[in-house]
Symmetry: C2
Subunit: 285 residues, 2 copies
Amino acid sequence: MLGAIEAGGTKFVCAVGDDDFKIIDKISFPTTYPEETLQRIFNFFDIYANLNAIGIGSFGPIDTNKKSEKYGYITSTPKTNWRNFNFLGEMKRHYSIPIGWTTDVNAACLGEYEVGSASYNNSCLYLTVGTGIGGGAILNGTIVEGFGHTEMGHIIIRNHPDDDFEGVCPYHKNCLEGLAAGPSIEKRYGVKAENLDSNHKIWGILAYYLAQALVNYTLILRPEKIILGGGVMNQASMLDLVKEEFSLLLANYIETPDLDSYIVRPSLGNNVGIAGGLILAHQIL
Amino acid sequence: MLGAIEAGGTKFVCAVGDDDFKIIDKISFPTTYPEETLQRIFNFFDIYANLNAIGIGSFGPIDTNKKSEKYGYITSTPKTNWRNFNFLGEMKRHYSIPIGWTTDVNAACLGEYEVGSASYNNSCLYLTVGTGIGGGAILNGTIVEGFGHTEMGHIIIRNHPDDDFEGVCPYHKNCLEGLAAGPSIEKRYGVKAENLDSNHKIWGILAYYLAQALVNYTLILRPEKIILGGGVMNQASMLDLVKEEFSLLLANYIETPDLDSYIVRPSLGNNVGIAGGLILAHQIL
């Protein structure tokens, strides 16, 4: 039996599943402070004596560098209770089974790669565009990471010619997340993205920013598929707008799969994180 | 015994080496047309009956997608003789040993990773900045590629506030290569880069462009080391300028290795391509 934890900043989801990644039992509870949350995790998994491995996809930033002294820690999160918390270490003190450790978005990417929209591909990239922008990538079955996990949401992009917004990223102002995530829309117009009309000019501007990011990811990683999730992508025309801008910006420089099969929606919905956690658990067995 | 081919647009280098990647014999000849060049390759390697594998690092673009009908071809190169040439296929018709196939810059990256500046790292990125800009990356011993090989030189960046140059890339005008490679300098000032004074403002501008690229590569790949080679990097102050701009742009958002050990020069010099070819040959044995 496999275990999975989707450790979000707002809520935790724990689940156990079988070797086909079918969920057998699942629980969800709010993210409070580490000691309480850990106890709830233990209460859930302790019942299952035949658990073979657990895969964790965690909110971050986290330390994923196995050479680091803080490997397994949640590091510089704005959630102060959780800052510098040795999450993986506490889990390993309680369970003597293999425990996989990656970011929430890497776990989601792994889910879409194995059993979702990219399940027939050798590589994929998953980007979520909501209150923040996060990405993960898989090449040949392996999560892309080196000195640490990726931070695809903070890449440098060009301002749209009709957008002189200075950006809201506290580190970089007008990086991708600073210009194209939900809070940048609220800062520009004083309302949430979903309250703006579908023909508001902001959607074309966001599509231009996201397409720039996708062009850069494409040139740097050459994934076989890009999966776009998150609240901002719920705007009905966004996916098509992004594809249009992507095509203009790439200018046929390199071959990609047909855009309708290259840039796609996720297919696992809310279960993507747990699916990824179960797959991660399976990978480390 | 291992074989290596560094297939450049101007000249080819062929070599044989031992399992420690020590070069035993080497030849170099100009790149003319495919039939003649192939014959020279055959003449060189045919002497060595105990050859176990050959690694090829080729100028491109090339098709590296094993699922593609044109896997092993040089594709849309401006060198018309070589366009759509089945280089790997012709090599395989002549030799029944494993033959590795990647880009020249990926081979160089592999060389620096295994026996050069990144030989104590698990991952690295190699960027060459000259008449063009090309990059390759290795994560956990494996060349980063998916649907095809990377094209890191053509990523989208922001113009420097003091540089309104429109760029020279025939596809994207002001992509990285269009703004920061040698030809962009000649187009701006009518002279080659090496003829510009060391305190000319262009060096700071180029450093800003290269640092943007390095920030994006860092966020998307998290390599443990970045190696900067090529003619433009010969300008004495460039490496330090790039590190300064990198630090400003990244704004401490994520941890990297200390910049003096993170952004470094190559160490293999002219032998980097052949070293990479021998290593590639060894990997596929």
